[in-house]
Symmetry: C2
Subunit: 422 residues, 2 copies
């Protein structure tokens, strides 16, 4: 057996500029929802150099009626999905390598030091929306595939690369790859895990609560009912529910996580005049779903917690808190910790990093839940970016992590898919 | 002494159509801030029929530097102020009759049954923004003046009618009448008291609190600090402060008022993404100021209450709650309950209504605070509208109350200003 590690390490070391250039080209395309086309063309142009069978198409048809479909879009025109297959020589295990091309909006520009789409490099970091979540991870995948090709290493199993749309908004892109028939024996998604290995993925859902009050002049506020005041017991009830739900999580993969499945109240909005009583408050949030929990169970618990307020507050009894499950939703996922891909990935991590990897459960959802729950494909999430900068101003990635992950994945592919005897 | 009551009652009864037509014309002009011109021309055209000395001018000059000036406007072009004087024959007490022409915006149109500027009449009520606050009160004043004129009743003291701008936004219109030299021995402001007599007026101020957090992904919310969670102790501290401040109010005029000087938290806003930790919340509110309290004292108490949180919450200690005293401000005011105008008004009320008036302290501020504190003019607030519909959708006034107030004020003018012997 050749010393694949040395070969791959050298190739990636010698070709860092390919990865940097590719990431920069991807980051410079502002691939927010509905605007993914140009970034996907950067992917296509790169794939053409790698001798893959390329499938580029616009999501349409039956996906809209699928029970797992979650999107506010009415069409996906000019938002192509891409799958590119490197056929193995046969008798090997196949693998899906999945990355999403969509990025969340840049938000308040004044909080960015530079143009959010600059791809500026400083102190070994590349800055820009999508560097960490997750164009950097996608570049790791493509470098791994290219390294194998350039080194003439032919695998037995198929490698199915995917660059999907809509991960940030509910997963319609990955859902469509499954409907279109793409399956494999396992999958890796290089979302920003900071090089931790996540065999379990938390699910999550967004919700919007509507708390009713009754308007009045602020000077006679006792004639009204303040929806802002009525929000306090609602927030406190949700804080209690979060404690109850998390007390149940005994999985050791969560032992270092202060709150394994948080309920985050992210947006609050109510009232429209300082001296009027607010007649409505809306609170938008995100509830984490345990890897082994049904989405419907989490929904039911939140609903029950709000209903319980009705027995202590007559106003809320008459004006029940509204719940709307709007926006995005990520299905949880899990892979057996004894699954052979887990073993291979940990070994390769240790070979490259000379230390043991951290195994944890993810604090957020990915498209992996769909691959597992619907596609029956075991998924590991493992990537070079970090949660700390994802979705935030001045998002960046440590380029060295991107190269390390490329190396680990290339070595993992060799062991998982098998190598054709020369 | 003639039976003035019978005369005036008959005249107003026979001329209700004048009042209805005038109110409808006023309501149909949308006199929100900066848009007062057309409604003021309706006033001017009516005043011309009453043989008054009309002074119409645009507020400008030294008012901008006055310590009581409170407005975000840079000029008052096309927003005229009006004062019209009916000179008495001499040796009588003078009176200011003050109404504001500005109305608050109509807000969410979908909450109105009809066009907010329709002036539609149904079941004895006229509907529309400004009917109750306070164009109806202004019509009462003008009907009273017209009744005296048409009946040939000449007063000894001057009657100074004012139709001012900017009451809803800090009182620059009334402030300017004082600077311009208009004074009198007393004043009546027919704001919507529901025909209660208010010898004391609450002051009020708006404030904006800024509560800081630290952003993070909702899935790892423990890495951030939620400004929404940090708002809870702030709201609770303000609820406690409201209790403390109101426990001190022992004035019997407030005995039927559940919360004499409320602190209303009217607007809350924070965060911008359901699955991110909110890094800032702003709360806008209105603090009531007791009739005998200094504005600065109320400010100091709120400031202290927020500072006290710093000793129990290290995060708040490092990130103190911001307070901004923005927007509008109304100075409190008070008239001696033994003041002769109080006696006259109560007597005339009883003559017209055959019952005793309710004497209370106002739950909101008016321009009366400026007249009293700056102009040294004792003020009574007494008018036909109601707080319940002021500032709200489907605002209306009971037209009969408008005519009754006109009658009571006409009779009060006769007694207060004195009548020239024929």
């Amino acid at each position: 057996m050749k010393n694949y590690q040395t070969l791959i390490h050298s190739w990636i070391h010698d070709n860092k500029v390919i990865g940097i250039e590719l990431l920069q080209n991807l980051v410079r395309k502002r691939s927010v929802q509905t605007n993914e086309y140009e970034a996907q063309q950067v992917i296509i142009n790169h794939l053409k150099k790698l001798d893959l069978e390329i499938d580029e198409w616009e999501v349409a048809g039956e996906v809209f009626n699928h029970p797992y479909f979650c999107s506010t879009r009415k069409d996906f025109l000019k938002s192509p999905n891409i799958v590119a297959v490197k056929r193995g020589s046969g008798n090997g295990r196949s693998i899906i390598l999945n990355g999403h091309i969509d990025v969340v909006p840049e938000g308040d520009l004044s909080q960015w030091t530079d143009d959010p789409y600059s791809g500026k490099i400083e102190n070994g970091r590349m800055y820009g929306r999508g560097t960490t979540d997750m164009k950097g991870g996608t570049v790791s995948l493509l470098l791994a595939i290219q390294a194998l090709k350039e080194l003439g290493i032919e695998l037995n199993g198929d490698v199915i690369f995917q660059s999907v749309i809509e991960e940030e908004s509910g997963g319609a892109g990955t859902l469509e790859t499954i409907i279109r028939g793409y399956k494999a024996d396992a999958a890796i998604i290089p979302e920003p895990t900071n090089m931790k290995i996540f065999p379990k993925q938390q699910g999550s859902m967004w919700f919007r609560l509507t708390i009713k009050g009754r308007s009045a002049h602020g000077g006679t506020r006792y004639e009204g009912v303040s929806a802002i005041e009525k929000s306090l017991p609602v927030i406190q009830a949700i804080q209690t529910l979060e404690k109850i739900r998390n007390a149940r999580i005994v999985d050791p993969l969560y032992q270092n996580t202060p709150i394994p499945i948080p309920i985050n109240l992210g947006v609050i909005k109510g009232g429209d005049w300082p001296s009027s009583v607010a007649d409505e408050v809306t609170i938008e949030g995100r509830i984490g779903v345990a890897p082994d929990e049904e989405m419907a169970h989490a929904q039911e618990e939140l609903k029950q917690c709000l209903q319980d307020l009705e027995s202590v507050d007559p106003w809320i009894k008459e004006h029940p808190i509204g719940i709307d499950w709007f926006g995005a939703r990520w299905v949880p996922g899990t892979i057996d910790e004894e699954h052979p891909l887990m073993g291979i990935l940990q070994t390769k991590f240790s070979e490259v990093k000379h230390t043991k990897p951290t195994i944890e459960a993810s604090p957020w959802g990915t498209d992996g839940g769909l691959l597992e729950k619907l596609g029956g494909i075991p998924v590991i999430v493992f990537g070079p970016g970090t949660t700390q900068t994802a979705h935030f101003p001045n998002e960046y990635i440590e380029l060295e992590r991107m190269f390390e992950v490329a190396e680990i994945i290339a070595l993992t592919l060799i062991d998982w898919c098998g190598v054709k005897e020369q």
